[in-house]
Symmetry: C2
Subunit: 479 residues, 2 copies
């Protein structure tokens, strides 16, 4: 229950007031809080107080009273105007203190919201992955609102649904979204409501330019206190201020996907000019990503590597399909022209502000470690990382694909051939990574359907072979 102590933060004026009444008016003063406990008391020396009267503090609800005692009724009567003045001074101060307290709380709350915004903004700066961005925001809000569970469901690239969760299973997300209490109250603003089981729900729709793009939900389990108005406000603020970033990230993510797929589609069209290279760029990109994944390069770099893979034979646009698809032996002139395709790729892509590692990856796939490659005759580490990766991927696909003059080689034989070129033609690191990728579970995902069409012995034998090959590749001497 509220007492005068909860309202009066600085009691020195109260002390001063009762001292004044005791001394100047010879009274005995006791300040009681609302439940009758003594807060303070004062009496002038030696005075007797058979007569007394209580003066309640008039501030808002019952918060206590001042009991004034005097030796006789006349003296109390005489002191009355002074007591009244004291009371009004105390009441006036109580009112100010309460206002101050409320305003301070409001201000601190705003300041902490602003700080929270700063903290979140700082964390998502430079992050170009939509899912990661949402996860950060989800975790930060969950921490700030002390939510037990939570999720953000919204539109990702191409308006596909994205859902990030905080300590929730998919089933729990679905169940929470269907809470009938929530369904009834959810609109276009942030709300707090109770789930049927009594848990507290804090719900916020996510807005975009014209309408809603998703929702956030935070849950505090039954037994904990319900979400507060200030927690609700925090979520509403975050939603309002951060949504332009979400919107832009969504556009960026969609465009990234469009870029990748456009390059992929064009590469497929170029590959299709020659029946023997059908699907080549697609497979090279996948093999290269398998190697890159094994090397632990990050998702943005993997994306770039995929693009470089699709682009590596673009220069073939400039070469007649009569030469590209010629069944017999090429003349040395024709061979020369074919060897020009990385130069054509470079010419096509040079005017574009493509990140250099993508361009190098695309144009250096025929370079070899010992400098016998083309078009630059680059040696060893002068060949870019992407170039060394794509070289392995390109040759592996060439070997495992049918040619006019030979059948497709089985995986084992192709890998054997690659291993023979360790250090001389290919980077050992990339060969090892590729073999490791073929052994890993991840490869099943990355290589997926391609793997199915490759010729190899039964899987158990292949795995055994890969283990042995790794041994060989690790120990084979540099020439």
């Amino acid at each position: 229950m509220a007492s005068i102590r909860d309202h009066l933060f600085d009691s020195s004026f109260l002390d001063q007031s009762i001292a004044y009444l005791a001394e100047a008016h010879k009274l005995a003063i006791t300040v009681l809080d609302s439940d009758g406990a003594t807060v303070a008391s004062r009496r002038s020396e030696g005075s007797d107080t058979p007569t007394s009267r209580a003066y309640p503090f008039s501030f808002s609800s019952d918060i206590g009273s001042m009991v004034c005692g005097a030796p006789n009724p006349e003296q109390l009567e005489q002191a009355e105007p002074h007591i009244r003045y004291c009371l009004s001074a105390l009441n006036s101060q109580l009112m100010r203190e309460t206002e101050l307290q409320e305003t301070t709380e409001e201000m601190l709350q705003l300041a902490s919201q602003m700080n929270f915004l700063f903290k979140v903004a700082k964390q998502i700066i430079g992050i170009d992955d939509l899912q990661k961005c949402y996860q950060i925001i989800l975790e930060e809000i969950a921490k700030a609102t002390k939510a037990d569970q939570g999720f953000i469901q919204t539109k990702g690239r191409w308006d596909e649904e994205i859902c990030v969760t905080h300590r929730m299973s998919e089933a729990e997300v679905a169940a929470s979204r269907e809470s009938s209490n929530l369904q009834r109250s959810a609109g276009v603003s942030t709300i707090i409501c109770a789930r049927e089981d009594g848990a507290s729900l804090l719900y916020s729709p996510i807005k975009e330019k014209d309408g809603l793009s998703g929702q956030m939900l935070f849950i505090r389990a039954l037994g904990h206190r319900a979400f507060s108005a200030s927690e609700k406000q925090l979520v509403a603020i975050i939603e309002n201020i951060i949504s332009p970033t979400f919107e832009t990230l969504r556009l960026y993510d969609s465009l990234q996907d469009l870029y990748l797929n456009t390059v992929k589609a064009l590469a497929a069209a170029i590959d299709a000019k020659d029946q023997y290279t059908h699907g080549h760029s697609f497979r090279v990109a996948k093999y290269a990503m398998a190697i890159g994944g094994e090397l632990g390069i990050d998702s943005q770099q993997l994306n770039d590597l995929e693009i470089a893979g699709y682009m590596h034979d673009l220069g073939k646009i400039g070469i007649s399909e009569l030469i590209l698809g010629k069944p017999g032996k090429l003349t040395s002139e024709e061979f020369c022209l074919i060897q020009q395709h990385p130069v054509f790729t470079d010419k096509i892509l040079q005017p574009i502000k493509l990140p250099p590692h993508i361009l190098e990856g695309a144009t250096q796939h025929h370079e070899r470690m010992d400098g016998t490659g083309y078009p630059g005759g680059l040696v060893g580490m002068d060949i870019s990382r992407f170039g060394r990766i794509i070289a392995v991927a390109d040759v592996f696909d060439a070997l495992t694909s049918k040619r006019p003059y030979r059948d497709a080689l089985p995986v084992e034989e192709a890998l054997q051939k690659l291993c023979e070129g360790i250090d001389t033609l290919f980077d050992r690191e990339m060969i090892l990574a590729f073999i490791a990728a073929l052994q890993s579970d991840r490869s099943k995902e990355v290589l997926g359907e391609i793997n199915m069409s490759l010729r190899h012995n039964d899987l158990q034998n292949l795995n055994h072979f890969l283990v042995e090959l790794t041994e060989f590749a690790m120990t084979s001497k540099r020439d």
Copy 2:
């Protein structure tokens, strides 16, 4: 000068206090502010006050005093403890009121900053043009801080410098950036300083993930008050909270440029397969944009139209250069195959999530208004807007380019031929827009160098011709 009135917002307790002293203690009270003016006064009826004494309010600096008068010194002496108590009650209230005032101000300021953030975030939501986004933020800050001038200089796509200004010339921007006072004090945080001429400068660096990406400067001319701490805080907050959006927009803008240029480069490579179509896609894209610009379509749509222009002959990847570049007459089979190129374009682009208007623009450029086109035989408005635009651009470029069997036609003749196809082959709106574009100043920019290589009579004659042609095109009857 500060007076008690500036500190005491609610004077009712002051009135109550002096009434109490006047009535209960038979005094004459006058409250004076720091410059001696009377704020309030009260005296008990009929009392004479030859004796008086001033009691200054002890709150902070000199803010005024209470002068108490009595009929004789003894009475004043007797009232002394009561006066002292009153004074301390008033001082106590003054202190609370001042604190409350300061806290309220601080809170209101935070709330208005938060509101400002909301307002700016709402405005930039869904805007994907970096320059426009910066301009909005610049104008909003200038308005909020009542700055006379301002600029934001930062990195745009590919880290190129972007500079948006508010009532400033380029020279003024350069001069302000070189202000030696600014140079001395500018660091990594937001500051206020004075320019040599006395103008007030509010400067803020713009941060990105690892370092600084630019700066903002706001100027308040000499004669106006200097920027305040709260204005400085506002700018710092905006910079902190909005920068993730900037960062993402920059990435998005760069990728948009990369996409456009990649498609352009690939289209150029495909065009280059046939000496007669060298540069064709580039020119078609430019002509299409000139028409689109004349129709007033927005910059995002113009960008899409440009992409559709580059993509319109992509399907030629799938057609042998022997047929494409065949000098003599084509067999009907060969002609059929060539007519398939929009179908190939569609096949290549179909798997991509390309916006439908781009895909339609690229694949419908051989459709004709009367349904005699290919591959769909679409009629009139069933042909997409982009398709009708690119059709005109495509035919104009074909007519004004050299062919194995004829020389390039002069502009006048090509336009004449287009006009003859109004309603039957081409959309009148697009023809008119194209002629208007050729007459406009804007066309010099858009068509630029292409124009130079076109054959036409001297410019004055061309303009005269275009005016006449417009007349003709507007009145020609539908068949």
